[in-house]
Amino acid sequence: MSLGGDIVAVLRGDAQADRVVPPTGFTARLTLFTAAAMAFLAVFALALSLATGRLADRWGSELARSATVRISAPAGQVEAQVQAALRVLRTTPGVTSARVLDAAEQRALLEPWFGPDLPIESLPAPQLIDVVEDGRGYDADGLRLRLTAEAPGAVLDDHTRWRRPLIRAADRLRALGVVSILLIAGATAAMITLAAQAALAANAQVIGVLRLVGARDVYIARAFVRRFTLRALVGAAAGAALATAAIAILPRAGDAGGFLTGLGFQGWHWLWPLAIPPLAAVVAFWATRLAAFRSLRELT
């Protein structure tokens, strides 16, 4: 089995050898359709994986560098505790800035639940302080102890509690995307193996004649390998192009759309779908090659 020779034969082609095995319409169409459908799904899985990857990175980087101090105190003590908390925060190593959210900002945060006309000044809403940390981070446990001592109504929320499951979920989605791509590659290999075996069985008589006149297995296999590899390449190119176009025309709603409208590619990631057709061709090459040699041993 000359692997290098096979690869060269697939790339170069041999018109005379191609003519020896008659064309098989049904398996040709089946392979083209399978490769196109699988490539279409693979591009979507890739887009899903990349989008969730971006999401996880964003949540990880943005949320990890910010925290919130919430101060709930009787009306007369709020301002004093806010100032005490700010003093503590400004002297805490690892904290870059600490800023008190004004009434408009707090109203904006509550607007999705209570509407735009919320009289926040008359509500016993806690005062929020936005904390931004530097790259080294701060000692959250130490900061909590100091806040408790200086401003008893202050509660530090470093977002860990709800950030971790979100990042974990995003990471799992990304892994699922990769697993989906691997499953698609496996399913493609299985389908092409079945189609190749059907083609080989349909050509049993041709193979018998070729063996009779001295054809080596590698010669017979090449005729099938080249065909199925090219069909997979063409089918996958069509499927990948369609899927890329479908993703490109997905509606965009900016940040407000969140994850759903962020499904797609960004920047050089648009080049990723170009990798799908050659990968499909490689899968088809190996699947057909293995099926062909196995079938040839069984047929003759």
Binding site: Q16, A17, R19, V20, P22, Q205, V206, G208, V209, L210, R211, L212, V213, G214, A215, R216, D217, V218, Y219, R297
Partner: protein
């Protein structure tokens, strides 16, 4: 050239051929005869490596056939031309390409062999049918095309399995004359047939040895043929 030493072949629990020892010398002419189902085709297949003996040893061109890899068996078949009774062709290719098939599969330049191919088609009387598809050929034409395909690689041995089984007497004699001509060119010829008239006709032209398969063994036939 091809030597069988105490060769047996069993299939499905029964022994089809047993204890055959025989040498097919270079340039010899053999007929293999016997009733249908006696094992003539099996014997021929053992000679060209399509079947492996279940006991004993078959040696072709100095090599033990049992020890040959599949690729080596393929190369062996380029040295042994085979003509089947059913003349299997690739029906989607014209006669000329079918005849040139051994050249194509061995990677030889068929364009460079065009003159030889034309000569060969002329020799078997199929020049006018070069572009025809095999299904359009008559039985005799198919046999001659199969013979041309069998000899295009200039094999040392030509094996024909019931080559005249489906053709009339006149065509049988024409095919026989081609095989005799090949033998006179130094080829070893082995023909399996149950046509005794063909054997008698051949013996008038060439020193042919007649082998008969009987009781799972091969015997040299007597003067009754």
């Amino acid at each position: 050239m091809i030597e069988l030493s105490d060769v047996s072949y069993s299939y499905g629990g029964g022994e089809l051929l047993s204890g055959i020892s025989l040498t097919l010398a270079p340039g010899s002419f053999h007929f293999l005869t016997g009733p249908s189902g006696a094992g003539k085709t099996t014997f021929l297949k053992l000679c060209y490596g399509d079947l492996l003996a279940t006991a004993g040893r078959v040696t072709a061109f100095g090599q033990d056939v049992r020890g040959l890899a599949r690729d080596e068996i393929a190369r062996l078949r380029r040295r042994i031309g085979v003509v089947h009774q059913d003349c299997r062709f690739l029906d989607h290719l014209p006669v000329a390409e079918n005849v040139a098939l051994p050249l194509i599969v061995s990677g030889r330049d068929t364009a460079g062999e065009a003159a030889n191919l034309a000569d060969l088609l002329g020799w078997v009387g199929l020049s006018d049918q070069a572009g025809a598809l095999p299904p359009s050929l008559s039985g005799g034409e198919r046999q001659r095309a199969a013979l041309a395909r069998a000899v295009i690689m200039a094999p040392e041995v030509v094996i024909a399995d019931e080559p005249t089984g489906n053709i009339d007497w006149e065509m049988s004699l024409r095919l026989l004359s081609l095989l005799v001509e090949l033998n006179k060119m130094g080829k070893t010829i082995v023909i399996a047939t149950h046509d005794l008239n063909l054997i008698r006709s051949a013996k008038q032209q060439v020193a042919a040895r007649v082998l008969r398969i009987r009781n799972r063994g091969v015997q040299l036939a007597g003067a009754d043929l």
